[in-house]
Amino acid sequence: MTLLNHFLCRTKTAFGTQALAHLPFDLSGMHAYKPFVITDQAARDAGLHLTLARACRDTHLALGLATLTDAEDFETLYHLFADKGYDSFIALGTGQVVQTAKALNLALCHGPEKLRSPAGPGQINRPLLPLVYIPTHPETGQDTAGETFFSGRHFVSANLMPDIAVITADTMLGTPGAAVLDSGLASLATCCEAFAFSGNPFARSYAHAGICLVMDTLLPLAQQSDHGDLLCQKAGKHRQLPLAKLAHAAAVSGYIQSNLPDLKSRQAVAHLTAVHPAPSAAPSSGLCMALALVHLLENSKDTCPWLGKLLLPLTDAAHYAGVPGPGQPDAAVRVIRKLLHALSETVPQGMPKTLGEAGLTPGQISEMSTLLTYTQHKEPPW
């Protein structure tokens, strides 16, 4: 029997040395010759706009650079873009910068009235202007996902995914340890859940890459974060590449989120924050997702057919081959627990490693267990 799987990733990911030098060529392939760059003050202070301008030397690209200083500037940006004849966007930054670029793109292509009410899947049908995403920090995957928030309204469409994501060590800024941890754990949870439960071979191959990137970089980065870099400055030389890899993992988790919107670990974040006795003291979203993932894996150890295979991206081929098949699901969960334990030792005030330690009562945990259960496991297609 042939299974039908859907997976759409309309973003081209450019990663590594001189990835920025490919940008003028890639933009010209989309008939974009006058990009509008949106950035934030931290990236501007670190001189990342000059790095971008250097990559565009000897080309026809004239950049318009807008630095976000105030969330109320949307109308100014709209008029700047429309009046000066720009034809594409470059979001040089993460979070607010990308959300603004996506909302602006939506307003310019569908009219400003489109932003007055939320739009779900299927309501934004026409393609938008080319959008290039250049992260300056690892984030939680929302920037590359096909969604954006504007004034509290949620817009969902595959057209909102960036056309190109350029991830390079040259544009990585100093990132605090907490943000590194949040990003890494969020990406790990998304990728592990997609790998074990989605049954979609395309999502699984992306998830495999994402898990390998996180496992390579998260712990070494967390262990270094005491010698943290200055914010608003480029990350130290030894941290730039691992941060870029983590940003790559976050981008991959964004592609997965766009295609698998019902991931349980994502839903657990809202639930955990809602039921937590002190919502302001609830763990960060990445940590919530990681704790939920461990709980989810424990619940599904005996029923999920792919769980044992998760050991391969979490460790390496030699380790995977050394563990007998029936022991692999337990070994995979142990690796994640071990990672959480090692990470908690790098955080001065410690870090919860289970839902109980995060402040949930046994009753709330059993309520979470109901939420964190897959009733149907998709069988592997072979």
Partner: protein, 176 residues
């Protein structure tokens, strides 16, 4: 208030000058090697007559144009793409990427593997041009640089390493 500025595209003047000089000399070396080296001769023999190819950088050069005329003679045709049909374009995606290859920071196979160049034309002829480029680089460069420019330095007989190489150098300088 949003801070806004416009950044016009800048110029890498020295890099472009370096690339122009390198491509000019490289083109003349291709012409010379096509006359004195059997390996390069046989690669050109397999190409059709009146065939022209160019090597350069997107979007505005610099370029090196080499052609084979109706009598089978190979000529360096300068740096202009105008006034002649080009049958094969081997283009790097930016002058900075072409500079990395000609400054020996990256070999041609590595640049290819990193998706730095694109080809417009027939693939077998593009492969032949890349092989010719490798031979010319081994002729022109001392071994420690040639090792960085090509995937593997070939073990050539003494005559090819010395006599043929010297003839390529002399002819490239003289333009014969």
């Amino acid at each position: 208030m949003t801070d806004f500025m416009e950044i016009p595209p800048g110029r890498h003047r020295w890099k472009k000058l370096y690339l122009r000089c390198m491509l000019w000399f490289f083109g003349r070396a291709v012409q010379a090697a096509a006359r004195v080296d059997d390996g390069v001769k046989s690669e050109f023999a397999a190409m059709p007559d009146n065939f022209t190819f160019c090597l350069g950088a997107f979007p505005s050069g610099p370029y090196m144009v080499v052609g084979k005329d109706a009598h089978g003679r190979v000529r360096h045709l300068g740096a202009s793409l105008a006034d002649r049909p080009i049958h094969l374009h081997l283009m790097f995606k930016s002058p900075a990427l072409l500079f990395r290859v000609f400054a020996f920071q990256e070999s041609t196979p590595v640049a290819n593997a990193r998706n730095r160049l694109y080809v417009h034309g027939e693939v077998p002829q593009a492969c032949a041009v890349v092989r010719i480029m490798d031979v010319i680089q081994v002729f022109l460069l001392p071994k420690f640089l040639a090792k960085r420019a090509v995937k593997r330095c070939p073990a050539w007989p003494l005559k090819r390493r010395t006599l043929v190489r010297a003839r390529v150098y002399v002819r490239a300088f003289g333009g014969w």
